[in-house]
């Protein structure tokens, strides 16, 4: 087994060397005369305004959180899934099944809950805006009249 993982290490090292080698090799082939314009951030030819490092939408955070939780769930499920067959062959399949089932069922409640709470909705913010705009558009002629 250590042999297998030594391979991983070697692969990582060779991959790094591959990138490094081609970059260093390319260094002798490619031109290098940077100018201020070239080094500017590309914004479709416009001058960039400010930095790009600003606050992000929290919905990404929520997705990431739900992801972490399900990733941990997968991490727990794999070991169990890999021995499921041997348990069936030992004649303890029903019990093994119940254990997996309870585990998944409890998490399924969590998923259903997040779904019902509307946190899987990607455009909920947008929807509100659209609704508001539609409402205002409806009010407008009435006010004008």
């Amino acid at each position: 087994m250590p042999f297998h993982f030594a391979n991983v290490l070697v692969f990582a090292a060779i991959a790094i060397l591959f990138v490094l080698g081609s970059l260093v090799g390319g260094h002798f082939l490619r031109p290098h005369n940077p100018t201020a314009e070239k080094e500017m951030i590309y914004e479709c030819g416009e001058k960039p305004i400010g930095q790009a490092w600003y606050n992000f939408n929290p919905r990404f955070y929520l997705i990431a959180l739900v992801f972490v939780i399900f990733e941990v769930e997968i991490a727990f499920m794999y070991p169990v899934a890999s021995v499921y067959r041997s348990f069936i062959e030992k004649g303890q399949g029903m019990l093994a099944f119940l254990e997996i089932f309870v585990f998944v069922a409890i998490l399924a409640v969590g998923l259903a809950y997040v779904w019902a709470m509307g946190d899987l909705e990607w455009v909920k913010g947008l929807k509100q805006d659209v609704l508001k705009a539609a409402r205002e558009a409806r009010e407008q002629p009435r006010k004008a009249a």
């Binding site: 992000f56 955070y61 990431a64 991490a75 021995v83 254990e99 585990f103 969590g110 809950y113 946190d119």
Partner: protein
């Protein structure tokens, strides 16, 4: 021999990168250092014959938790001026000293009289499949049913809690 060489390489790199996590002012740099630290840590787990833990370290921590961290960092995106000046306060010195003392103490205790008995190392050598995915799967089924099922409960609570906390005003 080879094992201990690798151990020291991994250990030194882990500690260096972990120190970077604390010392770096730029949170994204800190997060990337953390990925590196997790990576080398998983190497140490491999040396301890804990394959599953090593893989989980990369998959869950270096992969999943990191993405979460980076998203949170980007969510907040502290500007340089918001972070305040770096100052060396008495608390920091006390904190650093206590870390060194505690670590040294535990390392001393660990190396003192308990570790050479090498209980875990013996287990890894004598029990076939110790630390492998199947070994852990067997353990989850047989010895650790209760923690396994309660973990599912814990994950559900985490989902619900995340929704509650991320909601606006209640």
């Amino acid at each position: 021999m080879t094992e201990s060489v690798f151990f020291w390489i991994f250990a030194v790199l882990t500690v260096l990168l972990a120190a970077q996590v604390v010392l770096r002012r730029n949170p994204v740099h800190a997060a990337v250092s953390l990925v590196g630290a997790f990576f080398f840590l998983s190497g140490i787990y491999l040396l301890l014959a804990a394959q599953l833990i090593a893989i989980l370290q990369v998959m869950v921590y270096a992969g999943a938790v990191m993405v979460l961290f980076v998203f949170v960092i980007m969510l907040l995106n502290l500007k340089e001026e918001e972070m305040g000046h770096e100052r060396l306060t008495a608390w920091k010195i006390i904190g650093g000293a206590s870390i060194v003392v505690t670590t040294g103490l535990i390392a001393y205790l660990a190396l003192g009289n308990a570790y050479p008995t090498g209980l875990l190392r013996d287990m890894a050598r004598t029990q076939p499949g110790f630390g492998s995915v199947k070994g852990v799967g067997q353990a989850l089924y047989i010895a650790s049913v209760l923690p396994f099922e309660v973990t599912s409960l814990l994950l559900t609570i985490a989902v619900v809690g995340a929704v509650v906390v991320a909601k606006g005003k209640i």
